[in-house]
């Protein structure tokens, strides 16, 4: 395989995305800076802003809170157990509850105060309320029409510090990552200019700063990124996660990785979408990364829903922001993360300094309703990844997930089972499923971990209520 072929296949994907543009559109999010994946059957958790707008959505009609007035609230409550099959040790969430509560206060038009309280207890085995915790996220949201251009207002939003699950571009650099920071957005017609500063992305010592300009309601997006980090100088060995505090010196000089990316998102039909992203890391020897994603989705099919997706990723060695082999870590490990794909830039960027990487992922989710309130469902992901050593001499490394580079691996993730809906018009449900993908968490769920999902086979019994 050579770079020429990779580059050309990538370019072909991008060109195909541009050429395939047509007038049909998927529903555009009404929520500002809404990075939730629209092309998946995973549950799209509420976001911690514009709660009134979310409550006004017809799909939220069952929620108890009002969609207007000075205050509203909603809550997603889950309780369940996950038990390992053929494993000696339990998973962290082997007897959990979560209450993911969102409170929105709108004292005046133009100001929202949003408070998300995630109360959870990962394990009933830890002792009575021993590991229960509440994790607040506050988003102060100011929005205002600044002025009018061509008879259309320029709307300005600024919000922080809870940014929720953030994806930039189509996910080449950052995808479904919980972040805190600030976002400023100026919108005019189908244009959007967005600035974001996030205090921590994939490493304890990084900051993610981006400014993006999108047109055609997000169909084309140019993104400029300043990924700040503190790489150890030559001769110093990178410090492994967990040892940062005890190592000296505790910090290294600040460095920057600058990127320019170009993303396209074009719906080919109401159910078929093609998305691409091409990234370019600006440095002495520029490095490229690219991804293409195609999705077919039927959500409102009546008794069934199905999503089939495919994504290809390519990261040239040195494309990642770190110039050393440094483990990324995930610092918020809750059951919500179950509703995201394993394929994520997080999995690639730790070893990016030394390895060319590319992968193919096939995503498939399906739900089918049966009589008596029964639903059969399956979430699957087939991830085939490759890494080629780019250093001389070549050397081997292992990611925290056990992937050996150079090398290749094929992983199949699934969660499949049945759900029971006691009330036909309401989403409250109980479910039983079997899975080999469960969220990895330390004793404290905000302790950073090096792998997002724990290996093993599990059965999961779960109850969910949506208030």
């Amino acid at each position: 395989m050579n770079y020429w072929l990779i580059r050309n296949s990538t370019m072909c994907l991008i060109l195909a995305g541009l050429l395939c543009a047509r007038r049909g559109e998927a529903a555009q999010p009404d929520i500002v800076a809404d990075d939730r994946d629209q092309y998946t059957l995973f549950y799209r958790h509420p976001v911690n802003r514009q709660l009134f707008e979310q409550m006004a959505d017809p799909s939220f009609a069952y929620r108890l809170g009002p969609s207007s007035g000075p205050i509203t609230a909603l809550s997603d409550v889950t309780m369940g157990t996950q038990q390992t099959i053929h494993a000696a040790s339990q998973s962290r969430y082997h007897g959990w509850f979560t209450a993911d509560t969102y409170i929105g206060v709108r004292p005046v038009d133009g100001l929202d105060i949003n408070l998300n309280l995630l109360a959870l207890n990962p394990s009933a085995s830890d002792g009575y309320r021993a590991s229960g915790s509440v994790h607040p996220g506050l988003a102060l949201h100011l929005y205002h029409d600044l002025f009018t251009v061509d008879r259309s207002p320029v709307r300005f939003d600024i919000m922080g510090s809870d940014l929720g699950w953030v994806t930039t571009g189509n996910g080449l650099l950052l995808e479904s990552t919980p972040l805190e920071g600030v976002i400023g957005v100026a919108r005019w017609k189908q244009w959007e200019l967005k600035y974001m500063f996030a205090g921590r992305a994939y490493w304890y010592d990084d900051d993610y700063e981006t400014i993006s300009l999108s047109a055609l309601k997000g169909k084309v997006l140019a993104n400029f990124v300043n990924w700040q980090k503190q790489d150890p100088p030559a001769g110093a060995t990178p410090i492994a996660p967990g040892f940062e505090a005890s190592a000296a010196p505790t910090s290294y000089p600040s460095g920057h990785a600058y990127y320019g990316t170009l993303s396209t998102r074009f719906p080919i039909s109401d159910r078929l979408r093609l998305a691409t992203e091409f990234g370019y890391r600006v440095q002495r020897q520029p490095k490229v990364g690219a991804m293409g994603r195609a999705d077919f989705i039927v959500k409102e099919g009546g008794w069934y829903a199905v999503h089939l997706g495919y994504q290809f990723r390519f990261y040239r060695a040195g494309f990642g922001p770190r110039d050393r082999l440094i483990s990324p870590t995930w610092s918020f490990n809750t059951p919500q993360q179950q509703d995201s794909y394993v394929t994520n830039p997080f999995e690639y960027l730790g070893i990016s300094q030394a390895y060319d990487q590319w992968s193919h992922t096939v995503m498939g989710e399906a739900r089918a309703r049966a009589p008596f309130g029964i639903e059969v469902y399956a979430d699957t992901e087939l991830w085939v990844r490759y890494a080629r050593s780019a250093t001389v001499p070549q050397f081997a490394s292992f990611t925290a997930g056990g992937f050996r580079a150079p090398g290749e691996s094929t992983n199949f993730y699934y969660q499949s089972g049945i759900r029971y809906y006691p009330w036909s018009k309401l989403p409250h449900r109980a479910s039983f499923s079997v899975s080999n993908k469960q969220v990895q968490a330390a004793w404290v769920v905000t302790d950073a971990v090096e792998r997002r999902f724990a290996p093993g086979t599990y059965w999961i019994l779960m109850g969910e209520a949506y208030l």
């Binding site: 990538t10 492994a240 000296a248 050393r324 730790g350 070893i351 001499p393 292992f398 925290a400 090398g407």
Partner: protein, 380 residues
């Protein structure tokens, strides 16, 4: 001007788009799904081996250089080779290939330890390591394979040299399973281990062996194999646990094998009359040179001391060397004194010449070399 597509036109456009999309996906799948290559196992490396022979060593013709690993202990020990070639030339450097035995064999190897690799102020890596031994042997049976003749394990091939494995030098060690070590440690450890192995994806590096653990030294891979006709190399190879591979680290009760006073025939004084040790009159000039064969023994050391007592010159020599009988080794120390008239010193009398060591003359007042010898048993 606004373009309006008919339904038919839209369908055509959709078909074209679908075809382009499909082609792109197929192209992407086709070119991107292939083996990325790269090493699947830690790589074998070549190490320069200096094979030396001191003056006086008669080098046999059928010497071979081998990298060997020991399985088992004591009389049940076996040696497996991963490299075995004829020695090209003595007193030259020859490359040997270091490669680990197959994984199934590694668990059975008996020369192993753990390495502590310090990565930074906060972290260190500990991992199991194995010791290869580089040996030069005389292929007496001309088989091309090593069949070592060891003290408790008789064989056919004679061991002439073996690499050291002690704390006073850097020895070659290898990670038992480098990939497993890398997989168990954080990603950051890869850089740390890479430094340990000099940037090469190999299991081998140089380390100091402190019996229960080893510490890497960052030295380039190398080995020195001095040929010795003595038994010491075969004893080290076959008697580990009883004999250290370094003479300097070998602790044993010293044995004074011989004490002699040689009085030159020209000396008129009766210096032997009260000597407690053998004292003979000889032609000193014929005895002074050191024995070349002694120099071939491990740990050989020779010290000289010159004393002038009245009209006599006394030369005191202490030689020490390690000699083994089976797996039992002892330091053998030979004390010898030569006495000659100061006015009639033989031509090879070393005093006042450059010698290896000549301490400050003893302040002896009596012409009594035996006294001088008995009060200076240990090298000064």
């Amino acid at each position: 001007m606004k373009w309006v597509l008919t339904a038919r036109g839209q369908q055509v456009r959709r078909d074209i788009a679908a075809r382009r999309f499909g082609a792109a996906v197929v192209l992407g799948l086709g070119v991107a799904a292939c083996n990325p290559g790269g090493p699947e196992e830690p790589q074998a490396v070549q190490v320069p081996v200096a094979i030396t022979a001191a003056d006086g060593v008669i080098v046999p013709p059928a010497l071979r250089l081998a990298v060997v690993w020991r399985k088992g202990l004591g009389v049940s020990q076996q040696w497996i080779s991963t490299f075995d070639v004829p020695v090209d030339r003595v007193n030259a450097t020859q490359l040997a290939t270091l490669d680990l035995p197959p994984k199934s064999e590694r668990t059975l190897l008996s020369q192993k330890s753990n390495v502590y690799v310090s990565c930074n102020d906060a972290e260190y890596i500990t991992a199991p390591v194995l010791f290869p031994r580089l040996v030069v042997y005389e292929d007496i049976d001309s088989s091309g394979d090593l069949d070592p003749d060891l003290p408790r394990v008789p064989g056919r091939d004679r061991i002439w040299a073996i690499s050291r494995m002690d704390s006073s030098v850097y020895s070659i060690v290898g990670f038992t399973d480098l990939d497993q070590t890398l997989a168990q440690e954080p990603l950051e450890a890869a850089e740390c281990i890479r430094q340990t192995t000099q940037g090469v994806y190999t299991a081998f590096f140089m380390a100091q062996n402190y019996s229960s653990y080893v510490l890497p030294g960052g030295e380039p891979l190398q080995a020195e194999l001095p040929l010795s006709p003595t038994d010491f190399a075969r004893v080290i190879m076959g008697c580990e646990g009883y004999v250290d591979s370094s003479p300097n680290n070998y602790y044993s009760d010293q044995t004074y094998a011989a004490q002699n006073v040689w009085v030159d025939q020209q000396v008129t004084a009766d210096v032997c009359h009260d000597s407690a040790i053998p004292c003979s009159r000889v032609e000193v000039a014929t005895l002074i040179p050191e024995s070349p064969s002694n120099r071939l023994y491990p740990g050989y050391d020779r010290e000289l001391q010159c004393t002038v007592v009245g009209s006599l010159d006394v030369l005191w020599e202490v030689e020490s060397k390690l000699e083994c009988d089976g797996c039992l080794c002892s330091w053998v120390e030979t004390d010898t004194s030569w006495v000659a008239e100061s006015s009639q010193l033989p031509a090879n009398w070393p005093c006042a010449k450059q010698v290896k060591y000549c301490s400050t003359p003893q302040q002896s007042t009596a012409v009594n070399p035996s006294f001088c010898v008995t009060t200076n048993k240990r090298p000064l």
